[in-house]
C-alpha cells in the first residue's frame, strides 16, 4: 500500500491502513488522500504472501538493541556462521538495517549483487548453506546513502520477506537497526502470522546503553515478541600485553545481568572485547573459525547453544 502513495505521508498521517485513512483532518490537502480513502481496508494481502514464503523457514530469530554500536550485526553474523558450521543446517541472514547495512562487509560479501530468478530475488551465498540478503546488495556504490523516510523503508522490508527465495531454511537470523521505530514495527507486523521465534537483545554493559535496552525490552513486551534472552557484549577487555582484565564500558548499575533479573527476562551470557573480533568483521571472516580457542569464541558458543535450546 505504502508503495502506491504519490507523496510522503504528512505529519499527522493516521496510517494508510486505518479506518481514518483519507478521512482525518490531516488528510485534507494530502496528495495521497484519494488513494487512501478508496484503497481496500482490512488485512494486508501481502501478509498472505509473506506467510506463504515463510512457511519453509523453521526458526526466525530477531536480533535487537535499543542502542547503536553495541554489536548487533557482529552478533548476528557470528550466530549465522556458527549455525551454518553444521552442514546439514540451512541458514539465512536478513539485514533490515536499511540506512546502515554492515552485514555485507562483515560476511565478506562487499560488491555482490542480488539476482532475480523465476522464484524471486536470490540471496547471496557465503557457502552452500548460508544465504544473506541486505539493502547493501542493491546499491551501486558502497558510499551511496539510503536517504529514505519510513514508508519506503517499510516497502523494502516487505519485499525482502515476500520476494526473497530462501528455499528451505532451518534458521533465519534478522539483523535490525537501533531503535523502536519503522523497521521494528514493520518486521513484527509482517511476521505476525509467521510464527516469529523471538528476539535476542544485545547490549553493552554501561548504563547509557541499558537505558535504551530497557526501552527495547518494553517494546517487545508491548508488541508481543517473545524474548529469547539478553547478551552482554563488549564485557571486559583483556590487555594483550599484560593479560589483565579491565572494564572499558563500566557496568555502573550491575550491567545486563542485573537488568535482566530486574526485568524478568533470561540472561544468555557475556562476550568479552577482543580486538580480533573487529578485525575479523573488517575482513569478512568468521571469528569463530579463525580463533576457535579464544575466550570470546567459548562464550559465543555457550550463548548460541542456549538460543538453539530455546527456539527448538
Amino acid at each position: 500500500m505504502s508503495d502506491q502513495l504519490v507523496a510522503p505521508p504528512p505529519e499527522n498521517c493516521p496510517g494508510t491502513q486505518s479506518e481514518m485513512s483519507g478521512k482525518s483532518s490531516a488528510c485534507a490537502g494530502c496528495p495521497n488522500q484519494q488513494i487512501c480513502a478508496t484503497a481496500p481496508k482490512g488485512p494486508d494481502p501481502d501478509l498472505v504472501e509473506i506467510e506463504e514464503r515463510m512457511k519453509t523457514v523453521k526458526h526466525k530469530i530477531l536480533v535487537l538493541s535499543g542502542k547503536g554500536g553495541v554489536g548487533k550485526s557482529t552478533f548476528s553474523s557470528q550466530l549465522s556462521f556458527a549455525l551454518s558450521m553444521d552442514e546439514n543446517v540451512e541458514v539465512g541472514l536478513l539485514d533490515i538495517d536499511i540506512c546502515g547495512p554492515s552485514i555485507p562487509k562483515i560476511m565478506g560479501l562487499e560488491g555482490e549483487n542480488i539476482h532475480i530468478s523465476g522464484q524471486g530475488w536470490d540471496p547471496v551465498y557465503v557457502q552452500d548453506n548460508l544465504a544473506v540478503m541486505s539493502v547493501g546488495f542493491l546499491l551501486d556504490k558502497e558510499e551511496d546513502a539510503v536517504i529514505w523516510r519510513g514508508p519506503k523503508k517499510n516497502g523494502i522490508i516487505k519485499q525482502f520477506l515476500k520476494d526473497v527465495y530462501w528455499n528451505e531454511l532451518d534458521y533465519l537470523v534478522i539483523d535490525t537497526p537501533p531503535g523502536t521505530s519503522d523497521e521494528h514495527l514493520s518486521i513484527v507486523q509482517y511476521l505476525k502470522t509467521s510464527n516469529l521465534s523471538g528476539a535476542v537483545i544485545v547490549t553493552s554493559p554501561q548504563d547509557v546503553a541499558l537505558i535504551d535496552v530497557r526501552k527495547e525490552i518494553n517494546f517487545c513486551k508491548k508488541v508481543g515478541v517473545p524474548i529469547i534472552g539478553v547478551v552482554e557484549n563488549m564485557s571486559g577487555f583483556v590487555c594483550p600485553k599484560c593479560n589483565k582484565e579491565s572494564q572499558i564500558f563500566i557496568p555502573t548499575t550491575g550491567g545486563a545481568e542485573k537488568m535482566s533479573q530486574d526485568m524478568n527476562v533470561p540472561f544468555l551470557g557475556r562476550i568479552p572485547i577482543d580486538p580480533l573480533i573487529a578485525r575479523s568483521c573488517d575482513e569478512g571472516k568468521s571469528y569463530l573459525i579463525t580463533h576457535p580457542n579464544s575466550e570470546a569464541t567459548k562464550q559465543y558458543n555457550l550463548i548460541f547453544n542456549k538460543i538453539k535450546e530455546t527456539v527448538k
Binding site: 505521508p9 535499543g66 540506512c99 519510513g150 537501533p178 554501561q206 573488517d282
Partner: protein, 261 residues
C-alpha cells in the same frame, strides 16, 4: 532560531560511535570556556543526553514563549532539550513511525525558547532517515554552520560515515569536519595503548574525501563515569588528554563569521 549564532549538527551513520558523547562533551566544553550553549537531542527512540549530563529526572516546562530548556546549573550556560524529559516513565519506549517523529522534531526546532545563545548543538540518532531529513530541512531554513561527523577507526564504521557524507552532499548541508572517537584504549594495569577498533581510519577517510580532520578523542573510562554520574569532567580532571583533544578540536573549527570573541 535566528537568535542563535552557530548551529551544529552531530551525525554518524553508525550507532554507538559516540555522537552523544561528542555532543555533550563539546557542549560542556564550550560552556566551560564561557559560551552560552543549547544542546538538542533528536534521538527520539534512544535518547542518551539526559543520562550523560545527569539530568535524567528533569521535566521540561512550557512558558508563553515556548518550551524552556533544562539547564545543567544555575549559571544557565548550558540548556538541554530531549524527549526523555517528556516521558513519564524513563523505560517507556517511544514506538513511533516517521511522521510522528517528524512533527516532534519540527516542534523542537520551532517551539523551544533557547534565548540568546552562541551555539546550538544537535545530537542525532544513527542513520540517514526521517529524523535526519527533517532536522536538516528545518535547519537549512536557519543558516546552519554544518555537520560534524563522528566515527570510530574501524572499517565497518567508516563505510557508514561515507554514506553520511553523501547524505550531507545530497541535502546540501556543509560539513565542518570529522572527529575520530574511541581511538585507543590505555590499559589501566600496564599503560599499554591498544587500538581496539583498529586505527587511523578517520584520518585516512578525511584525507580521502577532502574533509577537515578535527582530531581524535581517546577512550577514557573516566569520561563515561563522569558522564553517567553527571560530574563535570573538566574540573575533575583538568589535565586529561581528552580535555586537550577537545580544545584542539574546537580550535580546528571554521565557523561562519559571527563569533563574539
Amino acid at each position: 532560531m535566528d537568535k542563535i549564532k552557530h548551529k551544529l549538527l552531530v551525525l554518524s551513520g553508525k550507532g554507538g560511535v559516540g555522537k552523544s558523547t561528542v555532543s555533550s562533551q563539546l557542549a560542556l566544553y564550550l560552556s566551560h570556556i564561557g559560551y552560552r550553549v543549547g544542546l538538542l537531542d533528536v534521538d527520539l527512540c534512544g535518547p542518551s543526553i539526559p543520562k550523560m549530563l545527569g539530568l535524567e529526572s528533569k521535566d521540561v516546562h512550557k512558558s508563553t514563549k515556548g518550551w524552556v530548556p533544562v539547564y545543567t546549573d544555575e549559571s544557565q550556560k548550558l540548556g538541554v532539550i530531549s524527549i526523555q524529559f517528556l516521558l513519564g516513565d524513563k523505560d517507556t519506549p517511544v514506538i513511533w513511525r516517521g511522521p510522528k517523529k517528524n512533527s516532534m522534531i519540527k516542534q523542537f526546532i520551532d517551539d523551544v525558547n533557547w534565548g540568546e545563545i552562541d551555539f546550538l548543538i544537535i545530537d542525532t540518532p544513527p542513520g540517514t532517515s526521517d529524523e535526519h531529513i527533517s532536522v536538516t530541512e528545518e535547519l537549512l531554513k536557519h543558516n546552519p554552520d554544518g555537520a560534524i561527523l563522528v566515527t570510530t577507526p574501524q572499517a565497518v564504521s567508516i563505510s557508514d560515515v561515507k554514506k553520511e557524507i553523501s547524505f550531507c552532499n545530497t541535502m546540501k548541508l556543509p560539513i565542518i569536519g570529522i572527529v575520530e572517537n574511541m581511538s585507543g584504549y590505555v590499559c589501566p594495569h600496564c599503560s599499554e595503548c591498544t587500538n581496539i577498533f583498529s586505527s587511523e581510519g578517520g584520518k585516512l577517510l578525511a584525507e580521502q574525501c577532502n574533509i577537515k580532520f578535527l582530531g581524535k578523542l581517546p577512550i577514557d573510562p573516566n569520561l563515561s563515569i563522569c558522564s553517567e554520574r553527571g560530574i563535570n569532567y573538566f574540573t575533575e580532571y583538568p589535565n586529561s588528554s581528552t580535555l586537550a583533544a577537545l580544545k584542539s578540536f574546537v580550535d580546528n573549527f571554521s565557523l561562519k563569521p559571527n563569533t563574539t570573541n
